[in-house]
């Protein structure tokens, strides 16, 4: 546990000490910091049986947490690779950028590992505040400022509601630990108690806001569009994964006894999310905005898996495949979505913003490799095998079939067709339209690494998923461990 704090501070120090003039050193330092953090996580993983609970029972380092930690670090590392040249072009190369990025990762780690609502909330705020600043990092860009302000106001509002819900749970159970809460709400007389329901609904509002589910999604398109593109990519994967980790911790581990109350709400939200996001995405002409809506749509699919979990017994195929589905989805989503954003980032030139679909036109002429890889990412997002995205969809629909939700499954697959349509809009522009400019696109080394790594991961996970499925299975061994077995009954 001490290691976690040490490396978090270590990253910060490395990052802040470097001189401003050597801009790339900031990035290199941050990158080394992330690698070092990954190394520490690996050490913790090796010592896992001794891991367990720390910080006065507020932090639980289990396989679940470690899985998410790796995910955050991977997301952060790729985002750093993407950022170097982009920030140069934007002329906003400051060390704070990387420091904030790393700080938000620390916050995410707390969210994934916290089993105490106070710690979870602190982690959430640490992450959220860092992200607010990052979204508004392009000081001279009005869109960026507007996005940051919107994001911050709505974010603070939802955090307030979230905190209100948590405080009610504290009042009900007399403890801030999720286990205490689980014990308190599992008493039969409490299940449908109005206060419990209010607490649950307010907490869920906060959670659903953070994962950007309809109707709490309005911040997402604006924030995604205005933020620096590298940050948009980072937000769409790491921040979202952290929010999911928190949601799973609270809803599945903490409030599992209330599943009969919250699952119907999730059904409605999932349908609304898929519908709203897919329809809205159809008409977008800005790639960042389009991908923002698409990422909301993906949240809808993941919520379907949560429905499958909530309506089946722990240990049954429906439950475990739903759980796996969410984790696999977040894993593949990290790579494919970051890859797509990396390609968009590379379109940003001195005097071209490069985030309209028209800017994609004729990309194959300007940079054939990037165009092909972008096609790969888009197909993966659409869930076409053998790209990785199919695996996520596979698990989610399997879990729905296993828990008997045939109607929801059909709805989900039909909406994935919408998805294909708007992804193909980008693909069409890229591959089949004449380019607006003919000069070749310069692609920096860092960007090449980012695109290359994400593409490789997208292909490898898709073609040979076995080790990754094993990894997810390993991380879900948690369900059998005594710590959480007490919570999931």
């Amino acid at each position: 546990m001490v290691e976690l704090t040490i490396f978090a501070l270590g990253i910060l120090l490395i990052d802040l000490m470097v001189p401003r003039e050597w801009k790339w050193i900031n990035a290199a330092g941050a990158f080394v910091g992330v690698l070092f953090a990954a190394f520490c996580v690996w050490r913790i993983q090796a010592a896992l049986p001794r891991g367990g609970v720390g910080f006065y029972n507020s932090l639980l380092v289990d396989r679940f947490a470690i899985y998410f930690w790796y995910l955050f670090l991977a997301g952060a590392a790729i985002a750093i690779l993407m950022s170097v040249r982009y920030l140069d072009v934007e002329d906003e190369h400051h060390g704070e950028y990387y420091a904030l990025l790393l700080l938000s990762v620390v916050g995410m780690m707390c969210m994934a590992a916290g089993i105490d609502i106070v710690l979870i909330f602190i982690g959430l705020e640490l992450m959220a505040i860092s992200t607010y600043v990052l979204v508004g990092f392009l000081r001279r860009d009005r869109r960026s400022n507007e996005a940051a302000l919107k994001y911050m106001l709505l974010g603070a509002f939802s955090s307030g509601i979230f905190a209100y819900g948590l405080s009610l749970f504290y009042g009900l159970s007399g403890g801030t630990n999720l286990r205490d809460i689980a014990r308190a709400v599992s008493a039969p007389q409490n299940l449908h108690h109005p206060v419990v329901v209010i607490a649950l609904l307010t907490t869920m509002t906060g959670l659903l806001f953070k994962i950007a589910a309809v109707p709490f999604h309005q911040w997402a398109p604006d924030a995604y569009e205005g933020a620096p593109t590298s940050i948009t990519g980072f937000m769409s994967v790491a921040v979202k994964a952290a929010a999911w980790a928190m949601l799973l911790r609270i809803l599945v581990f903490g409030l599992w006894p209330l599943r009969s109350v919250y699952t119907p709400v999730i059904v409605v939200v999932a349908i609304a999310t898929m519908t709203g996001a897919n329809f809205a995405a159809l008409t977008q002409t800005n790639t960042k905005r389009l991908l923002a809506y698409s990422s909301i749509a993906h949240v809808g699919y993941m919520l379907l898996a949560l429905v499958a979990m909530g309506t089946s017994q722990p240990g049954s195929p429906g439950f475990s495949d739903g759980f796996k589905g969410i984790l696999v989805y977040l894993l593949v989503y990290t790579f494919m979505n970051l890859g797509a954003f990396a390609v968009i980032t590379s379109l940003r030139q001195r005097n071209v913003i490069g985030d309209e679909i028209d800017d994609m036109a004729g990309l194959y002429r300007r940079s054939p490799v990037e165009a092909m890889l972008m096609l790969l990412f888009l197909l993966s997002l659409a869930g076409i095998p053998p790209a990785a995205g199919f695996l996520g969809k596979y698990y989610i629909f399997l879990s729905l079939i296993e828990s008997g939700h045939y109607g929801l499954a059909s709805l989900g697959v039909l909406y994935s067709l919408f998805g294909l349509y708007y992804y193909l809009k980008i693909a069409n522009a890229m591959l089949m339209r004449a380019p607006m400019e003919t000069e070749r696109l310069p692609v920096s080394l860092g960007m090449r690494c980012a695109v290359g790594v994400t593409a490789l991961a997208t292909i490898v996970i898709g073609v040979y998923p076995e080790p990754f499925i094993r990894g997810v299975n390993w991380s879900l061994g948690i369900v059998q461990s005594p710590h959480v077995a007490a919570m999931v009954k």
């Binding site: 195929p317 076409i384 095998p385 629909f397 059909s410 039909l414 067709l417 193909l424 591959l431 076995e466």
Partner: protein
């Protein structure tokens, strides 16, 4: 000792595609040569399969099995399992042949982005072969969907004026079918687990449990699979993507689309729908619906063909009509109809593939496919006119050529099942003769009416070469179809047997199914 011939056939085109990636794109002739060498190589490599398969044509079950169950993704029970029976054998041979021919025919037709074109074409080839070889549902689905991507690009990049629209329509339509099929597959997979306790995608294993699904579920599963396959075929109400895709696709793309891609739908019916849901397909109501839309497809496709002004569109709609015959044979549910249907699928691949090549040759010379632009072509292109005549006759089902054998057997099968069905299908044959001969008359006979056509040069040796194997096959099937029926006999009888065993809904559930969970039995049935 496993033979790896299927894997070798499967991956030769893909290797060719990868090799092409390393050839500089300016060097167009080298790219063409390499692509053709790999395409021809892919065909030649598949030839040894013929004697090998012939030697064991009467043995039951799948042959040339490769891979063990669950050797690919053990966590979910998916394996890299290949294997073929008579039905897939014929379709594989058709695919390797047509793949080679279409690549050969693109030599001068494709001038832009040559490298990408051949890479995608070779990838497409591997995808199609994989669909026919896979004995694992997960693997099958991966090939089934992955193959859409190169086809979408072929239409979208090298297609005609409305290529974007056609490409997206093609992709969305076919994906719509396949996602519903995915749900069906997942249900079968989960059902297998509830019955046996084993999660597996192995198709021979699923054959054992799928017929046990209660009727009220099986009917919905059948519908899910049906939509997937019917869009691909395409059957009557689901056919609207086909004319667009065909008209906009480059010639070679149309050849492959008509020759092979459409067969995946009918192959799916034969391979999956019939043995998985025998009780549903043999239900009189379901059967008459299937037959009904097949008949509508036959007549409608032929009538629409009659009034087309664009040659390629005419051929495209004639496919709807011909494939209607294929589905009619399938849902006649007797061995005559089924084997006729599979043979007719091969025939359609040969003759319609050739028809698209024929249209493509004129288009390459004149850049128009309007029938009204032509007339008296036989005066300037005699060899071309002769070849066209042979292929037209083959397509309309003249005796001694391949089309006759297939259609006759199908009609015979339909007649055995219900004479009215055959009676309704017969006008399709007449109409086919009408639209093809009328087309021939307008384009080839008379004097040259359009001065632009006076200077057209006849076929080059390369173009003749593309037709030679097709003509040989058309004559062979027409004159001596017995070997083909022998190859089909065993698998077709097995399917008919399955349907017969399960058709009586009141019959007690077979007790021999449901093996113990521990027995991960071998992949063969």
């Amino acid at each position: 000792m496993q033979s790896h011939i299927l894997s070798i056939i499967l991956f030769t085109p893909l290797v060719g595609g990868l090799v092409l990636l390393f050839v500089p794109k300016e060097n167009k002739d080298a790219i063409r040569w390499i692509a053709n060498i790999f395409a021809l190589g892919g065909f030649l490599i598949s030839l040894p399969l013929v004697p090998m398969f012939w030697a064991q044509r009467f043995e039951p079950g799948f042959k040339f099995l490769e891979g063990t169950p669950n050797n690919w993704i053990p966590s979910i029970g998916a394996g890299y399992n290949l294997g073929i029976d008579g039905i897939s054998f014929l379709l594989i041979m058709l695919t390797t042949l047509l793949g080679w021919i279409s690549i050969l025919s693109s030599w001068t037709a494709i001038e832009i982005r040559v490298k990408e074109y051949y890479v995608w074409f070779l990838v497409l080839q591997t995808g199609m072969l994989g669909v026919f070889m896979a004995l694992d549902f997960f693997l099958f689905f991966v090939f089934w969907e992955a193959m859409l991507v190169p086809m979408y690009l072929l239409i979208g990049i090298w297609g005609g004026p409305r290529k974007l629209y056609a490409a997206i329509k093609f992709f969305l339509y076919t994906l719509f079918g396949s996602v519903l099929m995915l749900l069906g597959i997942l249900f079968l997979y989960f059902h297998h687990h509830t019955v046996t306790g084993v999660f597996t995608f192995s198709i021979p294993e699923l054959y054992k449990t799928a017929p046990l699904i209660p009727f009220h579920y099986a009917i919905w599963l059948f519908v899910a699979f049906f939509i997937g396959f019917a869009i691909k075929v395409p059957m009557f109400p689901f056919h609207t993507w086909l004319p667009d895709a065909h008209v906009e696709a480059p010639t070679a793309g149309s050849v492959i689309l008509a020759g092979v891609l459409l067969k995946m739908g009918t192959y799916g019916f034969v391979r999956f729908s019939l043995p998985f849901f025998p009780a549903v397909v043999s239900h009189p109501k379901v059967q008459s619906w299937m037959i009904g839309i097949s008949l509508v497809g036959i007549i409608y496709g032929a009538l629409v063909s009659l009034m087309q002004k664009d040659m390629k569109k005419l051929v495209a709609y004639s496919s709807v009509s011909h494939l209607g015959f294929c589905t009619l044979g399938i849902f006649a549910l007797n061995s005559m109809g089924l084997s006729g249907s599979v043979l007719q699928q091969i025939n359609h691949g040969i003759s319609t593939g050739a028809l698209f090549l024929i249209v493509g040759i004129l288009y390459e010379r004149r850049h128009t496919r309007e029938i009204a632009e032509y007339g008296g072509i036989s005066n300037v292109m005699p060899v071309y006119a002769t070849i066209t005549m042979i292929m037209f006759l083959s397509s309309m089902g003249l005796p001694l050529l391949n089309g006759f054998v297939g259609e006759f057997t199908i009609l015979q099968g339909a007649f055995t099942a219900n004479w009215r069905w055959a009676a309704w299908a017969a006008p399709g044959v007449v109409l086919a003769a009408a639209y093809l001969l009328w087309l021939y008359q307008r384009v080839f006979f008379g004097t040259v009416t359009n001065p632009k056509n006076e200077k057209l040069h006849d076929l080059t040796p390369r173009e003749i070469l593309t037709f030679v194997p097709l003509i040989i096959m058309a004559l062979w099937i027409g004159l001596y179809p017995k070997p083909f029926f022998q190859i089909l006999e065993q698998p077709v009888n097995q399917i008919v047997q399955t349907i017969h065993d399960n058709s009586n809904a009141n019959a007690p559930v077979n007790a021999q199914v449901a093996p113990a969970p521990s027995s991960r039995s071998k992949a063969s049935n």
